[in-house]
Amino acid sequence: MDKIFISAASHVTEADVRAARLGTRFGRLDLACQLALLAVESLGINFDAQPRDRIGICLAARAGSLATDLEYWRDRDAVGGPSPTLFAYTLPSAAIGEIAIRHRLTGPNLCLVGEDVVVSEARDLLQRGEAESCLCISCNVVTPALAEMIQSPVAAGASALFLQRCGGGLRELLENDRDIESLCALVCARNSTN
């Protein structure tokens, strides 16, 4: 099996989104897309350095798109009906589209709802040779209204890893590395002490 390396890691919160300056389109996105996009931006990857059709995107949308679903459906009785723009974000995979558009990434995509097996699946994508590198992202948005509905803690954050099939990187991805959030925390902490 080919070795897989982590070449960048990041974690962002809603406060980071509020402070971010990523252009007017960014302001029109739903919070899940903003978090995912900002987490990718924070990786500091030079996407020009590799063929964009060989970069995959694997996303774990932990609470799906339910926070945006609620927001969209709140306006169901508005004159003219609910927002067509917001409707496009009522898909858990919407962030993949936004990331792909911003960085012109045309590789294969995967979006899983719920608990994280996203690292294992990103690894598999690379080991099969379906991509040369892969953005691996976990995004969790649970607004207070949604928290009450699904009895889950309020959350707003995203973690991202950039995985590569060859080259060095910050750390090798090990077989038992599964939880993206702890992996990001570990790599970010190690990186800041070096």
Binding site: L91, P92, G129
Partner: protein
């Protein structure tokens, strides 16, 4: 291009199928509709309101249901049928080695509508708002104690779920995987497509000159995947797949079809096949002007003047979103078993841009060994899956 493998992954075969759709309950109903080139699209009183662009949809039940968990019921029914068909193979596999991959875009969105309107909603129905918990409960109800995933990649979800199931078997994590696709008709979704002005008021007409939008549909569909060596004799196998992103627009396809072209070429490459090996293409064919034109362009690029027979079946079933890839793959399996090229229901006058090989009415063929299934979706996602007789 993918790098050549040193060892080929084990083949994965389809051991059973199930489908509950607008043309009836069970794969036999789908088979009959396929032969007759029938349509399941009809005006539905649930959507007969100025809030919606049209009431023409592909509904399983004309009058809806009182259930607060209709998506789970649809998924459960289709999976029951697929498991029954594969019972001999499945009975020899321990539950811990049977996985489940759910494909859905909205899971049990009925619960959100009910809660927003302060209507009664059970705890279970509320739990099934979350695709991962829906998948876990479905797995538990059907004796699948292996790995469970919920895939949601817009309208490509079904094809990605089939590839995820195949990967779990090829990685040795499971010996069988139950792949289930489901999405229900809902005010939530029909209002959304109305807001986008994406619905055809008289019902979708894929690849038609006058097409002007899609028709929403609902379906539950299931496929039992098993390691190839567990199926005696000839079987239909998952031969290869490819995925890509247009990186172009969130809700519209790229005009030049380059993303879908890339996905098809990746699938051919993974399957070790050439374009002229493909004997039939089941298109995504939503009936929207841009999607069908883009798909036609992608097929022209890949196949040139030798395009194999192509058809789209959303005029039969409607656009079933997260279920689409699974239910349309089930239809391809039936077509391969019956050696029958599916037609394009509701097609009147073919668009100039449509492939010349567009199949209008279903017809028999001598063989159907390699079939290409396509889906595309919001977010620029593209998927291609190749099924082959093994």
């Amino acid at each position: 291009m993918r790098e050549p493998r040193t060892t080929l992954p084990p083949p994965v075969a389809i051991a059973g199928c199930g489908a509950t759709t607008a043309v009836g309950r069970g794969v036999d109903a789908l088979r009959s509709a396929l032969r007759a080139n029938a349509t399941g699209l009809r005006p539905n009183p649930r959507f007969d309101s100025p809030r919606f662009q049209t009431s023409i949809v592909g509904a399983v039940l004309q009058n809806g249901t009182d259930s607060d968990d209709p998506a789970f019921q649809l998924a459960d029914e289709a999976l029951g049928e697929a498991r029954a068909q594969a019972c001999e193979v499945l009975s020899e596999i321990p539950a811990a080695r049977i996985g489940l991959v759910l494909s859905t875009t909205k899971a049990n969105i009925e619960a959100l509508e009910r809660l927003a309107d302060a209507r009664p909603c059970s705890k279970t129905a509320r739990r099934h708002l979350q695709g991962n918990l829906f998948a876990a409960d479905l797995a538990s109800a059907h004796g699948a104690h292996g790995p469970v995933q919920c895939v949601s990649v817009a309208c490509v979800s079904g094809l990605v779920a089939i590839q995820q199931g195949t990967k779990l078997i090829q990685r040795g994590v499971a010996d069988a995987v139950l792949v289930v696709g489901v999405d229900c008709l809902s005010s939530f979704v029909v209002a959304g497509f109305t807001a986008l002005k994406a619905l055809d008021p008289i019902g979708c007409r894929p690849f038609d000159r006058d097409r002007c939008g899609l028709s929403p549909g609902e379906a539950g569909a299931a496929i039992v995947l098993v390691r190839g060596d567990r199926v005696p004799g000839s079987s239909i196998q998952i031969r290869g797949w490819g995925g890509s992103n247009d990186a172009n627009h969130l809700t519209g396809p790229s005009r030049d079809g380059s993303g879908l072209t890339q996905a098809i070429r990746r699938a051919l490459d993974a399957a070790g096949l050439q374009p002229d090996d493909i004997e039939y293409v089941n298109a995504h064919g939503t009936g929207t002007p841009y999607n069908d034109a883009m798909e036609s362009q992608a097929m022209r690029t890949v196949f040139g003047k030798q395009c194999p027979p192509v058809s789209g079946v959303k005029g039969m079933l409607g656009h079933t979103l997260g279920a689409a890839g699974v239910v349309e793959t089930v239809l391809c399996v039936v077509a391969m078993q019956e050696r029958l090229l599916p037609g394009t229901p509701r097609l009147n006058i073919a668009a100039e841009s449509a492939p010349a090989s567009l199949v209008r009415e279903s017809r028999s063929v001598a063989q159907l060994n390699h079939v290409l299934k396509l889906n595309t979706g919001f977010g620029g996602v593209n998927g291609a899956l190749i099924l082959s007789h093994g």
